[in-house]
Point group: C2
Chain length 113, copies 2
Amino acid sequence: MNTTGATSGDERLPQPATADIDLVTVLHALGDPVRLTLLLSYSDDAEHSCDPRGLGLEHLHKSTVSHHMRVLREAGVTTTRVAGRNRFVRLRRADLDTRFPGLLDALLAAAAA
Amino acid sequence: MNTTGATSGDERLPQPATADIDLVTVLHALGDPVRLTLLLSYSDDAEHSCDPRGLGLEHLHKSTVSHHMRVLREAGVTTTRVAGRNRFVRLRRADLDTRFPGLLDALLAAAAA
């Protein structure tokens, strides 16, 4: 049984509190083609497994994709839920909208254009 | 007499055309504390000299500031006018607004917060 888990008993990997999300760190995290692709994948607000094949990143090694996911999570862009041996990633849309109003929508529109 | 100059006879340093401004490159350029500080300085839409003292960057070497200015210009964030031995930098607000609607305003609001 998890002692650090949420109601569901699942754990979350470390992430900054909303108030600690830093603009420079977010921009640096998103200033990379793979991570911007991940942002677009996560923009459906669903939880995504870490399997590169489900993210259109089949051409990258799993450890490379994991690295990019970690950068996004540590920047505060995503949250990662651990359920047993599985990890599920989701966009922190509400937190980003709170911290930087309008920024995420503008970024997603620009990235999708 | 300049052959590449604008009406005034001044030259511009190389910069991407508006349609070629790339989101990843812009985000990478702005994912740096000094360059984000420069963006805020340039947000008054005035031309600025390259003197670090006028930009609140007295603590940095002139060559370091020049490097950061070059990154911003090559990303398409700024334009640099050469007038004799002087260079003047200005934000490409209209070009950025055309390329990525809403993004610059959201970035400036977030950076100023």
